[in-house]
């Protein structure tokens, strides 16, 4: 009788542990999605502000053209090319705002300030997203999770080469 009892409890504990692991992984997948949605939203806002800056008085015709082009590119890029497109936008903004101290009109100043605040937020959002992705990948590699296919049909989260994209 004792043998059965031990066997039964072992199965029960394994079952509990598997459900614990599945919940843990599910939560992480959820976090990858929400942190990406958050980051995506912030980047879209950045592109919108960039276009506004391009149309303002700060931008000379050449940089306005460059800025509009890179902003559109960032908005329309596929996930694969997104990182490169965002870097392009950062570069274009960097060239234009190199001498941001000389800006005097209040409308342009508030635009630049909004961009600064947004950049700080984007940095945090990137850190949150990367953390979620690396955690998820780590947990997905666990033996039990692979053997029992606890990840189900959830796609493998993509590591996003965002480091240094926004500064």
């Amino acid at each position: 009788m004792n043998k059965y009892f031990v066997g039964f409890s072992a199965i029960a504990i394994l079952g509990w542990y598997l459900s614990f692991l599945a919940t843990r992984l599910d939560r992480l997948h959820g976090r990858v999605e929400t942190s990406w949605a958050n980051l995506d939203g912030l980047l879209q806002r950045r592109a919108a502000i960039a276009i506004e800056i391009a149309r303002s008085e700060i931008a000379d015709p050449a940089s306005a053209l460059l800025l509009t082009f890179t902003a559109h590119q960032a908005r329309e890029a596929s996930v694969r090319d997104r990182s490169q497109a965002e870097s392009g936008l950062t570069g274009a903004l960097g060239i234009l705002l190199e001498n941001a101290e000389s800006i005097s009109s209040p409308i342009e100043l508030s635009l630049v300030q909004e961009l600064d605040e947004l950049t700080a937020k984007i940095k945090v959002a990137i850190a949150m997203h990367i953390e979620a992705v690396t955690r998820t990948q780590m947990v997905r590699k666990k033996f039990l999770i692979r053997v029992f296919r606890l990840a189900g049909h959830a796609p493998e989260p993509m590591i996003y080469e965002f480091e240094g994209d926004v500064f």
């Binding site: 919940t23 976090r31 958050n38 945090v124 850190a127 953390e131």
Partner: protein, 391 residues
């Protein structure tokens, strides 16, 4: 704040009635958020439940446990766990902010029990917690639930990276810089004075290092005086030191926040000889805001707060010889002192609550994206749903 007013729950692991860095951080943050119109509830252990502010819920009496070089008053156990759970389910929170969730405390329990947007702030900076390596496998799945992590300093962030292998965003502790901007110089404390604030009986605060350094400082600066503020019994300290040093010391006892601001503007040098266990060093930020020139030990937290010596002078930790020579140098060079103080008070503006709370709230907003609020994880379990159970 575009997302409107939120219901925020904050968990403080240490006893609310005991003074400490984490507690005052939680208090200031809660009061700032309430002033912004949010609904805030703080869960903390407390000895005297009648003396609590309206927004604090007591989790029970804390127990004293030696931890990280000091005695920590914390709390855990099954009864407390039930209390934490009922606080979470009654609170209807949009977000939970857990302080120091990696130590056995109500923060860890709350992190275990809750599901939804969770933000954790890590205060401790210590590379000596060997035990952390042993408990990491248990802590990891719990810490993993945090949507966003905040470290109060670069040192705390490094500790987190080493022990728990996770990254964090650095948001410093806050001070009310405005209070320091209109501080008055108090004649009683000015002149060739050295200031010290803290629980001076605790060895890790390092008052004894300052006492050992004093004879050498006296030979160079004959009229030097030491002004000590903070709770404790001065008789014990005075008894142990050489008789000729006693009349150099003035003990003020506990002082008010405004007096503290005046103190920082009055003393010639503010000395922080702490030997460790310090996570952030809020007192140094306050000293800088008050316009004091700071001389601090080179422990990681102070080193990073002072910008590796850019905004204050650092001496080799636990070395009274180095402390005395750096102090003599500072006393002999008033223009350098003035320059450091000027740079320091400008830099201290970045620790103002207006700046700090705004960055914390930005993180809250990001953590709340796409969420419907905090729930108990036990509510989400499949068998509870099957049984129709609702707690």
């Amino acid at each position: 704040m575009p997302l409107g007013k939120k219901r925020i729950g904050i968990v403080c692991p240490y006893g609310w009635d005991t003074p400490g860095g984490v507690q005052s951080h939680v208090r200031d943050l809660a009061e700032y958020l309430i002033a912004q119109g949010h609904t805030v509830s703080v869960l903390a252990p407390a000895i005297n439940e009648d003396a609590l502010p309206e927004y604090v819920t007591s989790a029970g009496r804390p127990i004293s446990i030696p931890y990280n070089g000091a005695v920590a008053r914390i709390l855990f156990g099954p009864v407390v766990f039930a209390r934490v759970k009922s606080w979470i389910s009654n609170g209807n929170f949009d977000l939970l902010h857990l302080h120091e969730p990696a130590i056995p405390s109500i923060s860890l329990l709350a992190c275990w029990a809750a599901e939804g947007p969770l933000v954790g702030t890590f205060h401790a900076a210590s590379t000596r917690q060997k035990i952390a390596f042993a408990i990491t496998p248990f802590i990891e799945p719990v810490i993993e639930k945090l949507t966003a992590r905040i470290a109060v300093s670069e040192a705390a962030r490094e500790t987190l990276q080493i022990h728990l292998d996770t990254d964090a965003v650095v948001v410093p502790n806050g001070i009310y810089a405005k209070r320091y901007a209109n501080a008055q110089v108090d004649e009683r404390w000015s002149g060739n004075t050295i200031g010290f604030i803290g629980r001076f009986e605790e060895p890790r605060k390092g008052l004894s290092i300052l006492i050992d350094a004093l004879p050498r400082i006296i030979t160079a600066i004959p009229d030097v005086r030491v002004i000590v503020a903070g709770p404790g019994n001065p008789a014990d300290v005075l008894e142990e030191m050489q008789p000729e040093l006693r009349n150099r010391f003035t003990f003020l006892g506990r002082i008010s926040e405004q007096e503290k601001a005046n103190f920082m503007s009055s003393v010639a040098i503010y000395v922080a000889p702490n030997t460790g266990g310090e996570s952030f060093g809020i007192i140094l930020a306050e000293a800088l805001a008050g316009g004091a020139s700071v001389l601090a030990s080179d422990i990681p937290a102070f080193d990073s707060l002072l910008g590796h010596g850019k905004y204050g002078t650092l001496f080799q930790s636990e070395s009274s010889a180095d402390l005395s020579s750096k102090a003599i140098e500072l006393f002999g060079n008033p223009s350098k002192r003035k320059e450091l103080a000027l740079k320091g008070s400008e830099y201290a503006k970045s620790f103002d609550w207006d700046v700090v709370a705004e960055s914390i709230y930005d993180i809250y907003e990001m953590a709340m994206v796409g969420s419907t609020g905090v729930t108990l994880s036990s509510d989400n379990r499949a068998w509870n749903k099957l049984l129709g159970r609702n707690s």
